[in-house]
Symmetry: C2
């Protein structure tokens, strides 16, 4: 603390991302990264773009927005791009929310939503998941100043259907409803098709997970052109060029490589389902996941103990010391070999405890 | 406008960056980019880093911060890095300023400062430059909630001495004083040496101008560790990973290439001074610049007219339609050949009007 800090700075409780390893050799199943590298064409596009680095990037990243629009059968005006989907979420708070009306999000979800609310001084109300850790659409019909739903939800991995999303949209014609689809490509159905029908719907996706580009920092939002314009106004009041030339070039190339995208995401889903079976045989409760991670709880051994023992064995997973989920581990789906190593190690750990 | 926009979104008047050309072949002297490409080692480092793009970047960019710290004889804790210096300026507002106390900056300066103030609801008071367009340090002694000085100032190019900066620091022990040194490497003296003496001093620099990396989006702030911690708290409440892996790798490589840096910045200063002489001979008033641009006004022909005629001739410069400076042009220093072309074209235009 310091006398030069604003009262806001003093009040913050910043988000803590999953650990990045430095030097040590870990099997890294803690930050939901993709086990596959991005396709060669992405690397080539980046290398080509590195020639123009003396020049500013195009501030509105028009070519990238056109490329994303084409991919989703939308127009460029319905696409916003940002420095990771986290930045876009951060822009949504001042763009759409007022500090007098509480926004709604689940009690168990991406923990960054609370952090944004504190930073932007927006009140929020937590809506409890049911006993099976599911979002109940009908609980999002109370009065609110906005709604955020992660779908699939994090860290549970459980996904709502389009019909369930539509219940929330229909009941909230006066609020912006943000659907954070960071993990949608691993088995869920995107709400993008509802955009023409609901002008209060904003869908947010990222290239960090299903497109293997966590290190490039590119996310995007899809919605009615007027919602996109609000985000653009916030961005242009904060930072004209949030995406560098290399990120723009790599992201465009990524959307031209849909065969690779299909192949790798299906492989991850197959490995996820095998891993879920193997974990159940070891006595784990496994929540039904449509994400590239599993959220699991052992019948006998505390999650915190398993977390520490896996780390000692060279395997990093994620543990959240938070109400209702402090006996769960979130395990990212790595390669088939990573997951075999995980199961072998867990079998030994469980046998010993 | 839209019923889903927040009242804040409706109130914004976003910053408008200089035009980026699409396709057409212009001599581009409008956004203060460096005419020299970054050194080969930067491109090589980026290409090498592109192998790890599936993984998140290190969230605090420790290696880059260490590299910058070494370059300025500081410690890593005294360095903050961001997605361009614009993002860092954006973080400074909520980190250090309260909305009840007006902050001070010059009436003629980087026009983004006003935009941030609106976005973060911070009141400000404009402090007039003198009749020679100079910042007068003694005018920054009035009561305030913070101070921002661009040094050299934009778009004038005029630079304060360290002694003058110190007058401002000495008279404001209760305010954070931000010195925005985007253009400092073109002839000014950085205030970094004052950091050990003043814990209220934050120096902000960028790799966009003197290090030829406008397209990579890397800026940094230097100051007392407690000021840096405040910025880190804001960043981690907004976006954990603002710098992608390629930006981190390229920036580290840039700080290892100081010979190239010295050679290119000196060449730009030499071309600037020759261009200033040539412009004076054509009847221009040229403000004394320590930046990579000149701010000039013709004795006879309106700036707006010259701006349009240069554009028609394929040369882009910057014109600001704002009080006190609406008869000036801001001209970026390009290559020696770019500047010869500029002078030839101006001579023809002036001869004809």
């Amino acid at each position: 603390m310091n006398r030069y800090w604003s009262s806001l700075t003093k009040s913050l409780q910043p988000y803590i991302p999953g650990e990045q390893t430095k030097g040590q050799s870990f099997i890294k199943l803690n930050t939901n990264e993709n086990p596959f590298s991005p396709p060669r064409a992405v690397i080539d596009a980046i290398n080509k773009a590195s020639c123009d680095l003396r020049l500013y990037p195009p501030p509105e990243a028009d070519f990238l927005r056109e490329s994303i629009a084409t991919n989703f059968s939308l127009t460029k005006d319905e696409v916003f791009v940002g420095n990771g989907s986290d930045e876009i979420l951060g822009f949504c708070f001042p763009a759409f929310f007022e500090n007098d009306k509480p926004i709604l999000f689940p009690d168990i979800t991406y923990s960054f939503y609370k952090v944004y609310a504190t930073l932007f001084k927006v009140n929020y109300k937590l809506v409890p998941l049911d006993d099976e850790y599911r979002i109940v659409p009908e609980t999002f019909t109370q009065k609110n100043g906005g709604i955020i739903i992660a779908n699939p939800n994090a860290p549970t991995g459980i996904c709502l259907s389009i019909a369930e999303i539509e219940i929330i949209l229909k009941n909230n014609p006066n609020s912006v409803v943000m659907i954070d689809e960071a993990y949608i490509d691993f088995g869920g159905t995107t709400a993008v098709r509802l955009i023409p029908k609901y002008d209060n719907l904003l869908v947010i996706q990222t290239l960090s997970k299903s497109r293997s580009l966590a290190g490039l920092r590119v996310g995007f939002a899809l919605g009615n052109a007027s919602l996109i314009e609000a985000l653009t106004r916030i961005k242009n009041s904060f930072n004209s060029y949030t995406l560098d030339r290399l990120a723009i070039a790599g992201a465009i190339a990524s959307f031209n490589e849909n065969d690779y995208f299909e192949k790798t995401r299906k492989e991850i889903m197959a490995v996820r389902d095998e891993t879920a079976n193997a974990l159940q045989k070891l006595g784990f409760r496994v929540l039904p996941s449509k994400a590239n991670f599993l959220f699991v709880s052992h019948e006998r051994i505390a999650a915190k103990v398993l977390f520490a023992k896996l780390q000692a064995a060279g395997i990093l997973v994620r543990y959240f010391d938070a109400p209702r989920i402090d006996n769960f581990l979130r395990i990212t789906i790595g390669t088939a070999q990573d997951m075999r190593d995980l199961i072998v190690n867990l079998r030994m750990i469980i046998g010993r405890v």
